[in-house]
């Protein structure tokens, strides 16, 4: 992209409006920021911890009564 912008700049001296280079920079910036936001959204969709984090308050199954000699604690 910078290469293209540079070329546009050189030709620009020969008559291409200055606005073209500006528009290319705008589009480059919008593409990179929006592309990253889309990618972030995609990653967020795959993350269960977006909505819920494991908490000590989660319902845990009641502990089975331990027997002497068989404790797994």
């Amino acid at each position: 992209m910078p290469g293209k912008a540079g070329r546009a700049c050189r030709i620009g001296a020969g008559g291409i409006p200055e606005g073209w280079r500006g528009a290319m920079i705008d589009n480059f910036s919008l593409a990179i920021s929006h592309g990253l936001m889309l990618l972030a959204t995609w990653y967020l969709l795959k993350r269960p911890d977006l909505d819920r984090e494991p908490s000590p308050r989660d319902e845990t199954p009641p502990a089975r009564p331990k027997r002497w000699g068989r404790g797994d604690a």
Partner: protein, 454 residues
């Protein structure tokens, strides 16, 4: 063509929102910062996308989000008080039509800041919010950075994609915000999880920080330069090798000077000779006017009260050499000059009470981040990210408060999102502490907590 791309992007984000409702909040953040409707010519301008996004975000939160243990911080109460008070002053404003126009966007910024922390229930949500804020601002900052490299910019010269000077597209505002977000960008290079910190993330982050530093150069705003200096001092606190840091900063500053465009160095030179500068002199005169005005109107004049000011000030100019200087004073007369300071904006528009509430919201933010910063400083486990994030948000807030001394950005929505993120971090950590305490005892206290009003 660009219109279609924006529509496709928004459609994808909204579609993702139907899978994960929190993404509607991110969609609103994006629309509020970037204002895609202002970057397009057709399609989006006809649809109230901002209203749709906020309706979906609040609707989804009410309908499906988990509201157990929802905590409300005192600062949300203060924001509500400020919102109601601003509504009251708008009803009694000196310029009802102009005040109503400003009220229209101010109330949305405040209401969203109150709502936002309620949705920030997980660490990933806080991170995602900050990521979207930074990437949205980046779409403006990258443009400004590249154009500054290309042309050198100049005060009021840098074209940031749109012609109207509002929101983050205004030169002084973007230069303050760009510097304020640098600590948060740095946080992502160490603690981000959406994009795991690797060489690609670091390269992008450092390039973006470079672009952020170029914004005050490109817009030739003196405020931005002061913000950079403040940030350099603030970051000294988190630096282990301070002598090395100071040497590098000094070397970078010296190395940068030859590359700075002359428009920038000339304008920065006026910081010292501010008396000869109309922009700085009018500020002092307007601040004096505001101070006198509020003595007669302690409740403020409502939004845009500055429109009634008529100021006279003397422009002092020193000419000649130091040994043979002549002092020229010119009398300048002006009217309806804007405040050029968030503090005086609050004082003039909302009076003593409004300014006091606003200041308490700001100072409480700095204080709470200091508490979090210290409390989790020694943390090395799952919450090792908390103290650095609090430090980053605190530094961002300090930079904003300095920038706000010279720009009327008391209600800048981006900053209220930052405050919302601070409150969200604070309430999230309070909830985590509650859970930790619970695990310390065998008896569950959740039954009582779950029954508590959300």
């Amino acid at each position: 063509m660009r219109d279609l791309v924006f529509v496709a992007f928004l459609a994808a984000i909204f579609a993702a929102g139907f899978r994960r409702p929190f993404i509607f909040v991110l969609a609103y953040v994006y629309i509020d910062i970037v204002s895609p409707q202002r970057l397009t010519y057709v399609l989006l301008n006809a649809v109230p996308i901002s209203a749709i996004a906020v309706a979906l975000a609040i609707g989804a939160w009410l309908a499906v989000d988990d509201k157990r243990d929802a905590r409300v911080a005192p600062r949300q109460g203060l924001l509500l008080i400020l919102l109601i008070y601003c509504w009251y002053t708008t009803l009694h404003a000196d310029f009802p039509v102009d005040a109503a126009f400003k009220w229209e966007w101010v109330w949305k910024a405040l209401a969203f800041a109150i709502f936002l922390p309620l949705t920030l229930r997980t660490r990933l949500r806080i991170e995602a919010l900050l990521l979207f804020m930074i990437l949205s601002a980046a779409s403006i900052i990258i443009v400004g950075g590249i154009k500054t490299l290309g042309s050198g910019g100049g005060y009021g010269q840098l074209n940031l994609m749109v012609d109207n000077n509002s929101g983050l597209y205004e030169g002084s505002t973007i230069s303050t915000v760009a510097i304020a977000i640098i600590p948060v960008i740095l946080w992502f290079t160490r603690h981000g999880t959406v994009f795991a910190p690797d060489w690609r993330v670091r390269t992008f982050a450092y390039a973006l920080i470079f672009a952020c530093l170029l914004i005050p150069v490109g817009t030739s705003t003196r405020t931005g330069l002061l913000c950079i200096a403040l940030l350099a001092v603030l970051m000294l606190r988190d630096t282990r090798r301070r002598i090395l840091y100071l040497s590098l900063m000094g070397a970078a500053a010296v190395a940068a000077v030859p590359f700075l465009p002359s428009s920038f160095t000339e304008r920065m030179g006026t910081i010292k000779t501010y008396q000869a500068d109309a922009s700085a002199s009018t500020r002092l005169a307007v601040w004096q006017w505001t101070w006198d005005y509020v003595k007669d109107h302690p409740a403020g004049g409502g939004f845009d009260a500055y429109r009634q000011n008529k100021i006279r000030y003397e422009k002092v100019k020193l000419e000649g050499t130091a040994s043979n200087a002549t002092v020229d004073t010119e009398l300048e007369v002006d009217a309806a000059r804007a405040y050029h300071s968030a503090y005086f904006e609050m004082l003039g528009e909302q009076g003593y009470f409004g300014l006091a509430v606003w200041l308490v919201i700001q100072i409480a933010g700095l204080f709470r981040m200091e508490v979090v910063r210290r409390r989790y400083a020694a943390e090395t486990g799952a919450l090792a990210w908390a103290s650095p994030l609090a430090a980053a948000l605190q530094n961002a807030h300090f930079v904003y408060l300095l920038g706000a001394a010279f720009i009327a950005i008391a209600f800048q929505p981006f900053v209220y999102m930052l405050i919302g993120a601070q409150i969200g971090l604070d309430t999230y950590l309070a909830r985590r502490r509650g859970e930790m305490r619970w695990t310390g005892f065998g008896r569950p206290r959740t039954a009582a907590l779950r029954g508590a009003p959300a």
